[in-house]
Amino acid sequence: MRGVYPTGMSATNAGVMPESGLTYANLFIFNARDESKGPDGEVLATGTNAVMIDLNTFVWVSRETLFGGARFSAAATLLVSNNSLASDTAGQLSAGGGFADFYFQPFILGWTTDRVAIRTAYGVLAPTGRFNADASDDVGSGYWTHAPSIGVTLLLTKDKTTTLSAFYMHEFHTDAPVYTQDRRPRSTTP
């Protein structure tokens, strides 16, 4: 298990806001993993884990500026996912595909100067993707994620061709639903 953020997604231009107006962005991610590691880095199992995610993001950025020259922005991301997990010893363990969770960033502020760009955001991942703790074809996480983040990009040259970026996001997860045998969700309180 990992967090829900597709790692590396904001590795470049982390602090940069799109131009004012409406932007459509498409990001295709292919994750391939072949080892399961233990707490000390030991190999617990080998197999094949392939995850394909297509993120369709619509970003709106204001033309006006708020305090400190910040531009306000909001974004919505529709995710389509396909995943497969197979063990070398146990065979196929799970596979699923379809619309995954819905990622919404209702509050984004971005500051841009000649040499630095900063982007702060609050995002929420809604568990709209199919999820059942007992199933083997899940495409959703099954829980809500609240994700504040900040990205900074230093424009090292005047023509903006050389940059240095850093991005930090912290995820807060709610509990996943637990199902009774007849598949109706029940309380998650332990």
Binding site: R2, T7, G8, R33, G38, G41
Partner: protein
């Protein structure tokens, strides 16, 4: 073009009715260097990008690589 990377660290225990204390306290850790290439066409409001990461020394999770292809257009 340039060098990139990511790290991911679980900071709190995992909890749930079916999670054992050992599973709950096993925090995952991910490390991955990589490279990226971006092309920006400001006049057309278009940008394209390619990223590749290879993970190493992970803890309590899977390990592998990631390929990302990005495109954006501003209207």
């Amino acid at each position: 073009m340039g060098v990139i990377g990511y790290g991911q660290w679980q900071t709190t225990d995992k909890t749930g009715p079916t999670i054992t204390p050992t599973q709950g306290s096993a925090h995952y850790q991910v490390n991955a260097p990589g490279f990226a290439s971006n092309v920006v066409l400001p006049a057309r409001g278009v940008s394209l990008g390619l990223k590749y990461f290879k993970e190493f020394s992970n803890r309590s999770t899977f390990e592998g690589y990631t390929l990302q292809i990005a495109g954006a257009v501003t209207f």
